[in-house]
Symmetry: C2
Subunit: 434 residues, 2 copies
């Protein structure tokens, strides 16, 4: 255990003040934030973090796809323990998703360094705070973009050429912000991340810390529904091939599919839909959308996927449309290293924090990192599980407890606590996506 007297922010007041400060960047009138990856607001918060780190003697580096690292080097040429999350947000989103984890990492790193200085116990690993580029995938798809490049699942060249709906590329956006870096990413020994739960289990059970042991499986499709453009008034109904009708029937079928599985075993959704040409008096010629199916049970997901394809065939025939489904991202139920879970459970116990293991329904950058290095993923409670919404809230006490928890886990990881952990997976061919 780190000697508590070494921590100059024992009441966590500095942490809360810093979080309040950064939450002003991209703030929305409804109490949330709007900081899409590669936008001006993302750049402003990056500048804020860079200043915070450099004023505390971190060395800040930027890699080719805008991942930011704040380095503390104790042992030249030794690999780094990384700790962080992401600063970008969804549109009109909450303050905590991502940003909480980055700031918690920065504060935890400062505390660990203070302890190293005080005790003189130089760790075998160096330490780096990280802000991953574009975890959300709201403006540029896919999500978890920076960590996907970092872990070799996507190439930097591929990612830099991806464009947003206005045709602006990742490279253009990063260059405009000054975050198209040239630094090599640090060699990495292990990774830790803390995040709000985005669910209500911890709150309901009155538990302080979630120990993530696995991800839900997910099937994500890009769907294109093709019909024929015509006049909404004059075209006889029987002659129409209305892409928006076909798309709407698919949205409804996917939603109702979830209800055919008991115990909330299947989550389904369509979050994004573009109709073309989208004029009030024109029958839509084409609709593009993203389908999202998730389950903790691979068999449930396979069954749901089969039924989805049955619905597609029925809708194609009924509405005279053609529906093309392209696999955007598929991943299975994937485990985090049990050694990391054991470490975190022990730390929580020593700190007097209640904890429980749980799965994550959402994807995180740790989903990528766990495939290449031993990884610890922690959750703190989130009021009513509200997520991707301005009303997202984690109470100050829970937020501070999370920083304390992360600090102690990080200290032990820097000392080599997970050196012997065995990777559960080879790097998969598919990139996981939130």
């Amino acid at each position: 255990m780190i000697d508590p007297t070494i921590n100059t922010d024992r009441a966590g007041e500095d942490f809360i003040a810093d979080f309040t400060s950064l939450s002003r960047i991209g703030a929305t009138p409804g109490g949330g934030v709007h900081r899409l990856a590669g936008t001006v607001e993302d750049g402003q918060l990056r500048a804020w973090l860079r200043n915070w780190l450099e004023s505390r003697d971190f060395t800040v580096t930027i890699d080719a796809v805008g991942n930011m690292f704040g380095l503390i080097e104790w042992t030249p040429n030794a690999p780094y323990v990384l700790v962080g999350s992401h600063l970008d947000s969804q549109p009109m989103a909450g303050r905590f998703d991502g940003a909480y984890g980055v700031l918690a990492a920065a504060h935890a790193a400062v505390r660990v360094r203070r302890n190293v200085t005080a005790t003189g116990q130089t760790p075998p690993f160096n330490l780096a705070v990280v802000n991953w580029f574009n975890e959300e995938g709201a403006r540029f798809q896919p999500s978890m973009m920076g960590s996907s490049v970092f872990t070799g699942k996507l190439s930097a060249e591929h990612v830099l050429a991806i464009t947003d709906p206005d045709g602006v590329s990742v490279e253009q956006a990063l260059t405009a912000l000054g975050y198209r870096g040239t630094d090599a990413a640090p060699e990495t020994a292990a990774y830790a991340e803390i995040h709000i739960e985005q669910g209500r289990h911890l709150e309901k059970d009155g538990v302080s810390i979630g120990l993530v042991d696995a991800t839900w499986a997910a099937h994500k499709y890009s769907a294109v529904v093709r019909g024929e453009q015509s006049h909404t008034g004059s075209t006889v109904m029987a002659d129409r091939r209305d892409a928006l009708v076909g798309a709407s029937r698919l949205v409804v079928a996917l939603r109702d599919l979830a209800d055919t599985f008991a115990d909330s075993a299947l989550h389904t959704s369509v979050g994004q839909l573009f109709a073309l040409p989208n004029s009030p008096v024109v029958v839509a010629s084409e609709v593009r959308m993203v389908l999202d199916l998730r389950s903790a049970d691979a068999e449930v997901l396979a069954e749901a996927d089969a039924r989805l394809h049955e619905h597609v065939a029925v809708i194609e025939k009924r509405d005279g449309v053609h529906i093309e489904l392209t696999q955007a991202h598929f991943w299975g139920v994937q485990s985090y290293q049990p050694e990391g879970i054991d470490l975190a459970r022990a730390v929580a116990g020593e700190l007097g924090l209640s904890s429980q293991t749980m799965m994550t329904l959402a994807g995180h950058d740790s989903t990528n990192l766990k495939d290449v290095v031993p990884t610890v993923m922690l959750f703190v409670p989130s009021v009513d599980g509200i997520s991707h919404n301005e009303g997202e809230l984690t109470h100050d006490d829970d937020a501070r407890a999370g920083v304390d928890m992360l600090t102690e886990v990080l200290a032990r990881m820097c000392q080599g606590a997970l050196q012997d952990a065995v990777l559960q997976h080879a790097a998969p061919a598919q990139v996981a996506q939130r």
Copy 2:
């Protein structure tokens, strides 16, 4: 009858050449046009028409909302017979919708003037070719905007402040193009318009000219579906209030409602839909769309409207969303003046063109004009009735026959043929919309 030898374009070759020329402006690779109201392409075609008219000694004037008039004055201070249509198009639309009617009007006017000069029979009315601003309503709603202001159904001030989805106002768009005019609109005695059918009745029956005797009734609603923003992955299905699911259920209900009425008596559609925030991993908080119900039978429309509201209540409860329907435009089955139909029928007979009366399912600028002056609305055949689609086609022979028909009708209207026609309607409170 005008002496055919007076017409220097008896084979209609000049007309077809001019139509080919103007169809190059805003041309799409698929053989259609893309010339939304107030865009650069609209401005280019306006310049083309202005040049065409001025080089033939028309006086071109522009009113406050961008309506263009090409005036021929024989008798100072006498009112004008107007003839025209619109040059703007839907997105990725056909070449004929609107533009055919404007060019036919211009050619007909030249022929009528030539006849007046040759015969020395000065008409009691003057003559004006008109290009109404924004008939389509694709970029700025409502449609039939220019003729609505002209007929006093909307104020110029109201219309000029209307914005497109990017926040550009009608006034800004017209000013940028140089078509925010200051000329007074001409005093009007009567109106004539020719248009492609946008249906397949004429083609099927082998008839050359449609004599429009009435409009279908229509109910148009702006709909806002409100839910709650959340995470597509982590939010439990039962906790979701998905605006896109509610909206999709409404699209499907409206489509299937049409099938509950026999004989294609009801047309329904949703052509435009915007989802917010429209991110792949965010459950939609809000969807905005336009609902369109049309029928030739007012009782059918009333019954359909009642059932639509029943569906709304069911969907609100089922999906936990709130649905707000706002009446955008309502109009009933409305007649054109029988005197105009009789005149056109007689002309067709004298020209050896087959004709039949028919209703229009789509709205036209003539829908507005008929409420304030005697109005003749003519259709020419359209292959397969394809409309609001690049594949829209009217054969040259049919297009030329339409110009001949319009010329003779116009000549007689200028001589006062409809002076005694009785208006069927007082100007209604609601503006008709396509």
